[in-house]
Assembly symmetry: D2
Homo-oligomer: 160 residues x 4
């Protein structure tokens, strides 16, 4: 199943490598010697979780169907426009972020606001619907960052 | 928008009246003189909320698309089978339940387990996909029950 | 840390054995051959999680301090009375329930409503404050039940 | 009750005015003509909600008791140090942020990470325990920002 999830992410222009760069950016100031390999491993562990897989597949399906005009109205237009009060994308993202506890929420909100790296590119892609995709990327990156923090526990205080 | 939401619920065999019966069942032991009118008003207030409308429309769209075989695989089969570990329906339902605080969660879990009234009928409908619909009904009923509880505040302790 | 958590639970009259009975009750109809040992192992895995440990220790501390009249007013009275709209106990419980995804929420709501076994005894103990304790027990049991469900995945459909 | 909440916030060095500045900072780029009065009104509406009041009072009580060494160990030390994996403060904050739907989560995470204004000052106060206080401020500000966004709905798209 993880393989399918990675394939469907790639079909939407999202590579595990891009996500790893975001995780690295999030965590480098807390863990000076952090290596990209550790970020990739953390993402791999996140994508192994069934709850994450279901959230990713559901969110990407909604983006794809909105793009193909297959959703009923008015939800089709709402998702296509990423209407400002539409929060279902954040809700799905929380299901991903929560798997390593709530400390991932902070990073998620930060990434969603700052639109770092791939997240910003997805958010502004013309012609594509990435209403769910950008939140999914931010959520996977935040969960992976939380996992790294959990593995490093006992290494002193840091501000998450 | 509320009118559209009620119409789309009705197209899936869900009437506000059926939901009111569930709210009444949930709350009658706490508020002996409870009238159905109060339940209907509470449901109306719940359906007025933008977050609720978006959650309902998104969930029903996923049921409809799964029924019409328009979702990509493997998420299509997962939703059609209501796979036991698929929790995205509960996640969407929480977005509804939460609008009057967390006290609605208890009723939601109870309803989802006991499959009371319409919820049980939806869950077992052959030929239809109601993976999201049954949780949506349970969530609207729980939120309405929480609203009634909030309005009655100061009327003494009860166990929610 | 897990040992400390189990000790603090026992000081509030909560044994892992009592929780295992609740998990067994929740899951026996889905898994006919379920053994108590499996329930105990699942609870053990739940209590291993840092997020769970923090939620349990924080909740029990609030019960103890309320009992000793050390909390400031008005929150002291609110917690001691388990005021009907106070939902912070449910919020803490969700932090526990969520660690294996949202499928645990259904069991949690059901247990909280039905007050099965120890949960009912805690809820009604005179002279003690168990505002957080009963939700904590329901949450640990629900998370353990969700873990068992995750481990059994692929064994066909069941209604959670 | 709202009056008591505001008093207890002030006793911890938190004024509604400081929070209004944060809300203003969050929203000024979306609503060019935004006035501080609107921010104050939105905060007032947030603090009117029972769920918010309970979350604030519970969180501040935990900070105060930790400061006075009245919490049992090990949770006392964990809260005093704001241990990096302790996420109960974020969980309480979510109860506040959620009252206007999930769109508040993004602002919350951003504020928590950037430590803007009062939030940064609280977080680094020596001699005081502000483990819950900084998240509470970020959460109230985010909920107020979400309320402003809801009131402005229909005024076109903006990125929350």
């Amino acid at each position: 199943m993880k393989k399918i999830v990675i394939e469907q992410l790639e079909q939407r222009g999202i590579t595990v490598d891009d996500i790893a760069l975001i995780v690295f950016d999030l965590q480098k100031s807390y863990y000076p010697g952090l290596e990209k390999e550790v970020c990739l491993e953390a993402i791999d562990a996140v994508l192994e979780k069934r709850e994450v897989q279901y959230a990713v597949l559901t969110g990407l399906a909604l983006d794809v169907l909105a793009e193909q005009d297959l959703l009923p109205e008015p939800i089709s237009t709402i998702i296509k426009m990423d209407e400002s009060l539409y929060g279902i994308d954040e809700i799905l993202a929380l299901a991903i972020t929560n798997i390593y506890g709530t400390i991932g929420i902070t990073s998620f909100g930060y990434l969603d606001k700052m639109k770092i790296g791939l997240i910003g590119r997805l958010d502004s892609s013309l012609g594509y619907v990435n209403t769910f995709a950008d939140d999914i990327v931010a959520a996977i990156a935040s969960a992976a960052a939380a996992k790294i923090a959990h593995n490093q526990k006992g290494n002193g205080k840091y501000h998450h």
